[in-house]
């Protein structure tokens, strides 16, 4: 439970962090809250030679309204998001979901940028973000670019983030009073979801018609329940739409759940999420 040897670079600006990534290439990893990366390093499943610590870069933690969107700094910790009044008013699914990540220690260290960059298919906030739609703002050697969340999560711990890029901001549409729900299924409160479903009603169209629906742990990455979204857009009932939730998914099998059970949970939790969202 001791990581292999590594060099630590403490960046004081995003530019510095990017420069360090450029210098060290694929031997370098960004360290933010450290609650995904450090356990892997302690188990020696990850052995980066250089850690670029962005925790000391000022101004990376914020939640603010910008036009029709809410902008969230990549360094915003789960606990900060959970307690944020702007987020609660403008995009309430996020503070609710942030409050269900891990345990209090994890929530006080982990960051939204970190969990998005990690690309774990069983992570909470990426599921809610994917249901919301919006963009990931990343900065690399050529400056900033914007990647839609729907194009960000590519596969098992694989994202659209290049090796020399840092996530600086997440932008999501303001949902205000539209219905939403996050249904997380675990055996214990602090676990990763066996399956989770995020459903968000959209005022302005946005992703997937009346509802954006995303699933955790049903494929190599967090994925949208496209068939469900399309059925809802066609006017199908919640029960009919939810029955399609596992279409196109490829869940893994582990000791908590085999594929059949995960598919069942995806359908069940989608129905419950949509019912709760519709009742809101």
């Amino acid at each position: 439970m001791i990581p292999g040897p590594f060099e630590l670079v403490r960046a004081t600006s995003v530019d510095e962090a990017v420069a360090a990534l450029v210098e060290h290439g694929d031997d370098a990893k960004i360290l933010a809250g450290g609650h995904s990366l450090l356990p892997l390093m302690k188990l020696r499943l990850a052995m980066p030679g250089v850690l670029v610590d962005i925790g000391g870069i000022p101004g990376m933690s914020y939640v603010r309204v910008e036009g029709d969107e809410v902008a969230i700094g990549a360094g915003t910790r789960h606990h900060e998001l959970e307690k944020d009044a702007v987020a609660a008013a403008e995009v309430p699914i996020l503070p609710c979901t942030a409050g269900q990540v891990g345990d209090p220690q994890v929530r006080h260290r982990g960051t939204i940028g970190g969990t998005v960059a990690h690309g774990d298919p069983a992570s909470d906030l990426p599921t809610a973000l994917l249901a919301l739609g919006g963009d990931v703002v990343v900065q690399g050697p050529d400056g900033r670019r914007t990647v839609p969340l729907t194009e960000f999560f590519l596969g098992f711990f694989e994202t659209a983030l290049a090796e020399d890029e840092v996530i600086v901001e997440i932008r999501v549409p303001r949902t205000g009073s539209a219905g939403w729900a996050y249904e997380k299924f675990t055996r214990r409160a602090n676990d990763w979801p066996i399956v989770a479903v995020a459903a968000v009603g959209h005022r302005t169209g946005g992703v997937g018609g009346p509802y954006g629906v995303a699933l955790a742990n049903m494929a190599g990455s967090v994925v949208r329940a496209t068939a469900t979204e399309e059925a809802l857009a066609r006017g199908a009932s919640i029960a009919e739409a939810a029955a399609l939730a596992d279409e196109g998914t490829n869940p893994s099998a582990d000791m908590h759940a085999d594929q059949e059970y995960r598919r069942h949970l995806a359908r069940l939790l989608t129905r419950r999420a949509l019912e709760r969202a519709a009742a809101a």
């Binding site: 439970m1 001791i2 292999g4 040897p5 356990p39 188990l43 020696r44 299924f185 055996r187 214990r188 409160a189 602090n190 676990d191 990763w192 066996i194 000791m255 908590h256 759940a257 085999d258 059970y261 069942h264 949970l265 069940l268």
Partner: protein, 759 residues
């Protein structure tokens, strides 16, 4: 008013909760200055032939002082230590020819700094040719692949004979069920740790995290071929054991041996991942229960057959099913009881004691059997229990398997728990939910248990104690017990205070140092209060008597004319105020100390009844525990706060086994639960507040009237939770679900029952 029976707040906690205790890895001791750090290289293969171990690269790595492999160790392999186990089932110090489980020791790296050890350990190249692994008890009993080919069998021990063919003749109903009592990990917060240093006097001081210094010392001295007189073993503060820290582990002895080889102190602390494969596991029984009787609810015959998984090497594994067999008749007056057990070797982590150690398995089996029988005949499970319980007794009762129960009133425990839980209203609410077809169904689970505590663990059913009063009026109590969370510092001080009048906060309890306390049996099997606490009671009593003799000489009075005043801790001549001499004053003249021992007439048999209410989401299969109501009768209670703490922890671990925890291996013997992300131990968020009901039937076996309480919570709650989950879906046609009752298993059981129901 006596201090005994009052809620004295734990004197230990101020330290534990602020600065923290001093665990083995925290020790700052001159003897350990300049210590080397040991890092073990363990097998990643469950069963295989060791072709080569190459440590040359590791020996060249930064900070490496030495690397030892099988060929560098000339110690005699560890014998089974149990007469019934084939002698060929020995444990090598390092696997030289064969690895027998993932976690088996292959080499050790000694480095100047701890972090260098993990880097260097990765450089030890191990070439293993995998062999088929024996993973389940069924694999083992097939005897096709042998864990120890030289033994000719995987069987470590066997108890009892098969039931006669006519065993269930005359029964109107017979129900049979295979029941898994799964393997679990103890997961103490403090993992294993040891440190050792040899002095110029030729003696070795060994610090290690364990449940009994004297036993650990005897084992290590025996394994290393040392004169016990040269071994000084010290048990620092210990952060939980649950049975898995009984005695010594081979790693502890190796640390002492390595210190001698290198001429430097050596320390070792294991990581959590290492702990989950290297420390003993618990439970691991595959059972078959059969129960027969009349449709009026009378049970006529009960049979239990146990296959105990012992893991790769014999520790307590082969002994545990003997306790299961002994306790098979449980609280019932069944006319016929049959019990039989086989204990086998597998290519998995060795099995040892875990909170209850053999008795929870007996209770789980019979309580599941009674529920199966009740379901089969369509009778309320409380009613079936009431019909078959032993009547209340105050004279010893001998069971079909030879256990001699000291005292008990099982029906009263059951009635109390049913009343406290509001059983009738719970069943009515359950009926309403069933009638409505609610998604969330109520499950009500019961268990009535009796267990054996303070059994002779091979060191006698007794314990040593000492007490010394100092000239400043403080006192020291010496105990052979070994607290690791129980609160002995508080309870033993209360017992000594009650006899001597010295305030609790002026009494220091010392344990776990074999030079200071050469004799002791340690803390296990819920024995500490009823033997160690009673020994302290005796020491304090004898100390007052010694003081009386001395005071009589000094006051030139007849000892019988002296009376002891608890308020001032002084002896004076009755009716002559102002003549008193205090214990402290006597100690000023001459050391005032006694050493004594209490030998119990035998074990005690605490009992109780648990009622658990769960809500099961029938669509997802997830069970949530809503209520746990328990009656745990442990005789006279010395400190209700401590007793409740023991019940709380025990209940939590029972809930954990019923709902959550399971050590799992794949078909090749690879552990699937070797981090705490994968091994789901229970936390407060999964538990309701517990409803504890008082009941105290004193035992005649000791002057305090105390029975054991450490394991009751686990023994009672495991089957109650298990039965409750099944009860919640019983109306859907579900008859049995094995522990842990995971959401997937419950969901699948409901699916299958419904499919069978429609055919």
């Amino acid at each position: 008013m006596s201090i005994l029976g009052t809620r004295v707040v734990r004197t230990e906690d101020a330290l534990f909760l602020t600065r923290g205790a001093t665990y083995t890895d925290d020790l700052v001791d001159d003897r350990l200055t300049g210590a080397l750090h040991a890092t073990f290289v363990r097998s990643q293969v469950a069963h295989g032939r060791v072709l080569a171990v190459d440590a040359s690269a590791a020996r060249e790595a930064d900070g490496v002082v030495a690397v030892y492999t099988a060929e560098d160790v000339d110690l005699v392999p560890i014998p089974p230590g149990r007469p019934m186990v084939p002698p060929a089932m020995t444990r090598p110090w390092f696997a030289g020819d064969t690895v027998r489980f993932v976690g088996d020791l292959i080499a050790v790296v000694l480095t100047e700094e701890r972090y260098q050890g993990e880097d260097a350990a990765e450089l030890v190249s191990v070439d293993i040719e995998p062999l088929p692994a024996v993973v389940t008890t069924a694999d083992a009993l097939a005897d096709e692949v042998l864990v120890f080919p030289e033994a000719g069998t995987n069987l470590m021990a066997a108890f009892g004979e098969p039931a006669p063919a006519d065993f269930f003749d005359g029964c109107e109903v017979v129900v049979r069920q295979a029941v898994v009592n799964q393997r679990v990990a103890p997961v103490p917060l403090e993992t294993r740790a040891a440190a050792a240093a040899w002095g110029e006097d030729g003696r070795v001081t060994i610090f290690c995290s364990n449940q009994g210094a004297q036993q650990a010392k005897a084992q290590i001295a025996g394994w290393l071929g040392l004169d016990p007189a040269v071994v000084h073993l010290v048990t620092p503060d210990v952060g939980g054991g649950f049975g898995a820290k009984i005695g010594a582990d081979p790693e502890f002895a190796l640390v002492a041996w390595l210190a001698r080889q290198t001429g430097r102190p050596v320390t070792w602390v294991e990581s959590r991942s290492e702990n989950l494969v290297g420390m003993l596991h618990g439970r691991g029984q595959d059972q078959v229960v059969a129960i027969g009787g009349r449709r009026d609810g009378t049970v006529q015959a009960y049979s239990l057959v146990v296959d105990q998984d012992c893991g790769a090497y014999p520790r307590l594994g082969p002994v545990l099913p003997r306790l299961t067999v002994l306790m098979a008749p449980a609280v019932y007056a069944f006319p016929k009881v049959h019990a039989q057990a086989r204990a086998v070797a597998t290519n998995t982590t060795p099995i040892g004691a875990y909170r209850g150690a053999g008795r929870p398995e007996a209770t789980a089996a019979v309580e599941r059997a009674v529920d199966l029988f009740a379901a089969e005949i369509g009778m309320d499970p409380a009613e079936v229990r009431r019909k078959n319980l032993l009547p209340a007794f105050s004279e010893p009762h001998t069971t079909a398997t030879g256990a001699v129960y000291d005292s008990g009133d099982y029906a009263a425990a059951l009635d109390k728990v049913l009343a406290a839980g509001g059983y009738g209203e719970l069943r009515a609410e359950q009926a309403r939910r069933r009638e409505r077809g609610d998604v969330r169904q109520l499950g009500i689970g019961l268990s009535v248990y009796v267990e054996i505590t303070g059994a002779d663990n091979g060191l006698g059913a007794g314990e040593s104690a000492g007490m010394e009063v100092h000239p400043d009026g403080t006192a020291t109590v010496l105990t052979g017990t070994s607290p690791h969370g129980q609160g002995h510092a508080t309870a033993w001080a209360m017992i000594a205070s009650e006899q001597t009048g010295i305030p609790v906060d002026r009494i220091t309890v010392v344990h776990g140092d074999t030079d200071l306390i050469p004799r002791g049996a340690g803390t296990m099997g819920s024995r500490s209060l009823q033997q160690g606490g009673v020994a302290v009671h005796r020491a304090a009593t004898e100390l007052v008597e010694l003081a009386r003799q001395r005071a009589a000489e000094q006051l030139e009075a007849d000892p019988a004319d002296l009376e002891f005043d608890l308020g001032s801790a002084a002896l004076g001549v009755r009716g002559t105020p102002g003549t008193g001499v205090t214990l402290a004053q006597l100690a000023e003249q001459e050391p005032l100390l006694v050493r004594t021992r209490f030998d119990a007439g035998g074990p005690t048999f605490p009992f109780g009844a648990h009622l658990v209410v769960v809500e099961v989401d029938t669509e997802s299969g997830k069970a949530e525990v809503l209520r746990v109501v328990t009656v745990d009768d442990a005789g006279t209670i010395v400190n209700p706060l401590l007793a409740e703490g023991q019940r709380h922890g025990g209940i939590a671990q029972g809930v954990a086994q019923a709902l959550l925890e399971e050590v799992r291996y794949d078909a090749d013997g690879n552990p699937q639960t070797s981090t705490l992300a994968d091994y789901p131990f229970v936390s407060a968020t999964e538990l309701p507040s517990f409803e504890l009901v008082d009941m105290a039937t004193p035992t005649p076996m000791n002057p305090l009237g105390a029975k054991g309480i450490g394991e009751s919570g686990t023994i009672g709650s495991t089957p109650a939770v298990h039965n409750a989950v099944i009860d919640a879906v019983a109306h859907l046609g579900v008859r049995h679900i094995d522990m842990p009752t995971t959401p997937m298993k419950v969901w699948r059981a409901v699916q299958q029952a419904q499919q069978e129901g429609t055919h």
